[in-house]
Subunit: 363 residues, 2 copies
C-alpha cells in the first residue's frame, strides 16, 4: 500500500481544533487498513511568527514541497495586527500558494439539503445549489509588482498595487474550469471587468479563444464581475462552474460560500500543474481563523474534514475513501448532529470534538 | 427664482426611456412654479459613438462642465461590443467622472417596505434596510497607469492594471463617509484588503488616523472586502455607511443593491469637491442600460426619477421639492403601481410611461 505524505499546517485560531479532527479521521483510515499516511505537522501564520519570527519557516516550506498534499487550517488574528506587512500571518499562506505553484483554487459552494434553512436567501433559491468557483490563485493583484507605499515630497503617501495577467496564466486556469465543467453540467461563466480593466480585456479574449479552439462543446458565458456578484445573490443556481481572477475570486467565492448558509462546511482545493503524473496541492477550509470562538470547542470541523476528502480524491486517488468520508459527513448531518454555526431551532449543538467523533463513528 | 442648469445624458438602452420620465417631472416642477430648470440634452456612450465616433463629444463635455448637475441614464450594449477599448461606451461615463472630479459616489441601498418580498433574502434580513455605500470614484484601478496590454517576445500577451491611492484621495472620501454618518446612525465601516494590498494598508491607516483626529465621535469598523461582501449577504442591517475604493465599491454596491430586490429603484449621486460653495455632480440610476428590454416600455423609471430627487437635494438645495418627489414615489408604490421588475403576484405591471405619469399625478 502506498504511503501518502501529508503536511498538516493547523495555523491559528480555530485552525488547530479543526485540524485535530482531521487527524482522527486519518487515524481511522489507517486503522481500517484503507490507506497509509505519513503525517508531519508544522507551524504557519501567527503561530510561526511567535515561534520563528516569520509566518512560514524555510523548514516548513521544504516539508510542504516534499509532501503529497498540504492540509491547511487557517491563519491570522488580532494578536498579530501590529506585525509588518512582509511578515504578517497571511504571508505564510500566500507564499505556500506561490512557491508551490498552486494556480487553481477550486471552491465548491454546495447547499446541503439539511441546511438550506440556514441560508440568508430564500430556500427555493439555494436548495440544491451546487456550483464551483475556479479562482486563479498565483497571479493578479496579489503578486504583481510594483506593490509598495512611497512617501511623496509633500509628505503624502502613495500606495500602488499591480494586477498582471499573461495569456498563459489565463489559459491554464480557464482549461481547469472547462475540464471541470465537462464532468459536471458543462457550463462555464467567466467573470472579469473588461469594460474597465486591461487584464479583463485579455482575460475575456483568451477565454474566448481557448473555448473556440478546444472547448466549444462546453457552454460559455462572459459576465462582468459586479454583475456576477449580483447574480450570485439573485439567482445562484444559474451557474455551474465560475472562473475568475485572484481578487474577484476572493470576493465572489465568499459571496457564494455565504449563500449556502454554512461557511463552516465548505472545503477548498488549491492545485498546481500536473508534472510527471502528480500535482502539488493544498487543501483548506474556506472559513478563516475565527479568533472570537477559538479554543472553545465551538468550531465546525466539517470544512476541514471535507478538505481532507478533496485531498483523498484529487491528490491520493482514493476515490472510494473520499466518497466514504463525504457520505459519513452527510449522514452525520442527516442524523441532526450540528455544531453551533449550523444549529437551527430544535437541534442540539455539539462541540468540535463531538462532531469529529460522530463523523468517525459514521465511517 | 434661480434657474438650475441641467445636462441630461440619456445614453443607451433603456436610458432614453427613463430619462423621458425625468423630463416629465422637471416639467411639472416648472409648471407648479416650484423651480426653474434650463435643460440641455446630449449624447453619451453608444449613441455618441454612432453620431460622433467617440463616446462623449468635446461639446458634451463642455456642457457638462457648465451645468449645475448632470443627469445620466445608462450606457453600453452588444451593438458596441466590437468598439476599441479607448472608445467603448463606458469610456464616456468614466471621462465624465474623472474630468468633473466626481470622487464621491453615494449609493443608497434602501429596501422599500412594499417591496421587501422581492428580495432574494429572507424578509426579516432586509426589511427596513437603509445603508449607503460611499464609493471612491476617480482613483484606484480604474484610472491608475500603466494600464496596457503588451505583446511579449514569445507571442504571449501581458496585461497590466494599476491600483493607486494617495493619502489625500483616501482622506477626502473618508471625510464624506464620516460627515454622512453623522447625519445618519453615526457608524462607518471601511472595507479594503490590507492583508493583501498595499493600497489597503494605506487605506486602513489613513481612515484610522482621520477618524482619531477629526471624527472620533463616529463609530468606525474596518472590514476585509471579501468578508464585507459576505456580511452584506448574511446580515446587511449591521451597516450604516460603508466606505470603500473604486473597484470594491463597484462590486459591494451591486451586492447591496441586489439585496433590496429592486435594482430598478436605486438612484446614485457622484459628487465633486465643494468649490466656492458649489460642487460638480452627476446623478445616475445604479442599473445599467438593459438592452434586452430597451424600447419596450418595460423599464422602471424610479431609479432615474430618484436620481433627480438626489439632484434636487444635493445640487439645487431644493430640499422640500426632493422630499415631495420621494414622497410621490413612495405613495405611488404604496398604491400598488408596479413596473414588471418589481411586480409580485397579485399586482398589475404598468409600463415605463405609466409609472412616470403616476408619479407626476401623486405630485
Ligand atoms: C487570508 C487571505 C490572504 C486569503 C485571500 O485573500 O486570498 C483569504 O481571504 C482567502 O480567500 O483564502
Ligand atoms: C459601466 C461601468 C464602467 C461602471 C463601473 O464599473 O464603475 C458601472 O458598473 C458602475 O458601477 O457605475
Amino acid at each position: 500500500m502506498a504511503t501518502h505524505k501529508i503536511l498538516l499546517l493547523p495555523g491559528d485560531g480555530i485552525g488547530p481544533e479543526v485540524a485535530q479532527e482531521v487527524s482522527k479521521v486519518l487515524a481511522w483510515f489507517t486503522r481500517a487498513g484503507i490507506a497509509q499516511f505519513e503525517t508531519e505537522t508544522d507551524l504557519v501564520g501567527g503561530a510561526a511568527i511567535d515561534a520563528h519570527g516569520v509566518p512560514l519557516s524555510e523548514a516548513a516550506m521544504d516539508r510542504a514541497k516534499a509532501a503529497d498534499a498540504v492540509l491547511f487550517g487557517a491563519v491570522g488574528g488580532p494578536k498579530w495586527a501590529g506585525v509588518s506587512y512582509a511578515k504578517r500571518p497571511e504571508a505564510g499562506l500566500l507564499r505556500l500558494r506561490k512557491d508551490l505553484g498552486l494556480f487553481a483554487n477550486l471552491r465548491p459552494a454546495i447547499c446541503y439539503p439539511a441546511l438550506a434553512e440556514a441560508s440568508a436567501l430564500k430556500r427555493e433559491l439555494v436548495e440544491g445549489l451546487d456550483i464551483v468557483i475556479v479562482r486563479e490563485l498565483t497571479g493578479g493583484v496579489y503578486f504583481g509588482e510594483p506593490k509598495e507605499i512611497v512617501t511623496l515630497e509633500d509628505g503624502q503617501k502613495r500606495a500602488v498595487d499591480t494586477q498582471v495577467y499573461t495569456t498563459g496564466e489565463i489559459e491554464r486556469i480557464a482549461a481547469v474550469a472547462f475540464d471541470l465543467a465537462r464532468k459536471r453540467r458543462n457550463k462555464v461563466a467567466s467573470a472579469e471587468k473588461h469594460n474597465v480593466m486591461k487584464t479583463g480585456v485579455l482575460w475575456k479574449e483568451t477565454v474566448t479563444k481557448l473555448h473556440a479552439e478546444q472547448y466549444s462543446d462546453v457552454g460559455l458565458e462572459h459576465v462582468l464581475a459586479d454583475n456576477c456578484a449580483m447574480q450570485l445573490v439573485r439567482n445562484p443556481k444559474q451557474y455551474d462552474v465560475l472562473v475568475t481572477d485572484n481578487l474577484f475570486g476572493d470576493i465572489l467565492s465568499d459571496v457564494a460560500a455565504m449563500l449556502t448558509g454554512s461557511l463552516g462546511m465548505l472545503p477548498s482545493a488549491s492545485l498546481g500543474a500536473v508534472e510527471n503524473g502528480t500535482r502539488r496541492a493544498l487543501y483548506e477550509p474556506v472559513h478563516g481563523s475565527a479568533p472570537d470562538i477559538a479554543g472553545q470547542n465551538l468550531a465546525n470541523p466539517i470544512a476541514m474534514i471535507g478538505s481532507l476528502a478533496m485531498a483523498l480524491r484529487y491528490s491520493f486517488g482514493l476515490l472510494e475513501a473520499a466518497d466514504q468520508l463525504e457520505g459519513a459527513i452527510t449522514r452525520t448531518l442527516a442524523a441532526g448532529t450540528r455544531t453551533r454555526d449550523i444549529a437551527g431551532p430544535g437541534t442540539n449543538a455539539v462541540g468540535t470534538t463531538e462532531m469529529g467523533d460522530a463523523i468517525v463513528r459514521e465511517l
